[in-house]
Subunit: 241 residues, 2 copies
């Protein structure tokens, strides 16, 4: 049975606005064909300058930012806001986050996390000629279950949702469950080697099924697959909004 | 940097009621100290006889079973029912499933999936003297995001939710996100090596942080940790029920 290997990438220096993440990753890890590189939203936002200054002495100073980054508030309880972002993500505090950023700053979600992932993927291919999948991951809560898990907020070179329609099970019956959110499973797996406090912002997942990869170098941007295009549910098809 | 290895376990024979899953797993895989063994709900339900006969010629014959297995219906759309089970899980069709079971049968969720996991864990320790974590996994949809991912519905020997309260980030700031649902991340990771149609019902995850393991051999059952005790949100603390 073929297996998977996952490892966190050590030695990524502190990321600042304008930094070339693809270059930093190629420096720190020996990437192979069809590795998947998982990069936390935090360093992507830092590199892209998706940061705002907040009052370092006011623990609630990022709250107006949360309101501004929300297109719709779904629930409030105490300080907690669950809202929809302009990308269509539903998450706590519109993804605005003070952890692992410099005191006095808050990190926002990247403008277009699929584009962020594509830029890293293209940067890696340009630099070392290696085709990898890229996921930008963030940490979201869930309904009905305690605790958070990492999910994909952007991807490139991957099919975010693996479509198994028409596939049959071991008994020859057509599968009931047909769409597997593989990029979320990969992001969750990567969190296990990154941790929340160790400050490892990049992980590599090696050995994934070839079926999850897609060639998004095509000239036609309409064939590009990403989290925003494929995985975010529209309000109309969502039963809980 | 330490990494993770994941592999699917080949060679598990067709599971029937009364089968000794722990024995089958020890036969098929060489387990090591603090491996995590992820077992799909389907084979656990088969071994425990959590199956009901349905009319093989009526594709909707399991629907009355879904109603019976639900303590509360949250949403209906067409054939789809999102309901709460007596365990407190919220999922499609109360976890009743026709895939990868013999024609004419439907699989129910195990009565107490934490107990199922503990039985496998104890069986493995009794047989080969090796301490492993065990997760019983199932495939659930999510709100707001397309596609399904595998989650943990039962666990043993593991802290389902890793509590990072008081932990500081790389900048010395206390973490905002404090509870990581590691068993769900492990279940999601395991799905990547099991697949939906290949019929591999067991995966091994090797190399996890020691912090996720717990000794639940203690005589006092109140110290046992599991998905039902630690991870299922009570309706009162849930904002979406």
């Amino acid at each position: 049975m073929s297996g998977l290997e996952l490892f966190g990438v050590d030695g990524i220096p502190e990321v600042r606005r304008g930094d070339d993440l693809a270059g930093m990753i190629c420096q720190a890890a020996e990437l192979r064909h069809h590795d998947v590189v998982v990069v936390t939203q935090k360093v992507v936002s830092k590199a892209e300058g998706a940061m705002v200054e907040v009052d370092p002495d006011d623990p609630l100073s990022h709250k107006p930012v949360v309101e501004r980054e929300s297109v719709r508030i779904l629930r409030r309880r105490g300080e907690l806001v669950i809202s929809e972002t302009r990308h269509g993500f539903v998450c706590a505090n519109a993804g605005v986050d003070l952890s692992n950023v410099e005191h006095g700053w808050a990190a926002l979600l990247p403008d277009d996390p699929d584009r962020s992932a594509r830029r890293i993927r293209d940067g890696i291919r340009g630099r070392i000629g290696t085709d990898v999948g890229v996921i930008v991951s963030d940490t979201f809560g869930r309904t009905w279950r305690r605790g958070v898990t990492d999910v994909a907020i952007g991807s490139a070179g991957l099919l975010p949702v693996l479509d198994l329609r028409g596939t049959r099970d071991a008994y020859g019956r057509e599968l009931q469950v047909t769409e597997v959110a593989v990029v979320d499973e990969i992001a969750a797996a990567a969190e296990l080697v990154m941790g929340k406090s160790s400050g490892i912002p990049v992980a590599v997942v090696r050995g994934l099924d070839e079926a999850v990869f897609t060639d998004d170098t095509a000239a036609d941007p309409s064939v590009r697959r990403g989290v925003l295009t494929d995985l975010v549910r529209s309000p109309a098809e969502d039963l809980f909004r």
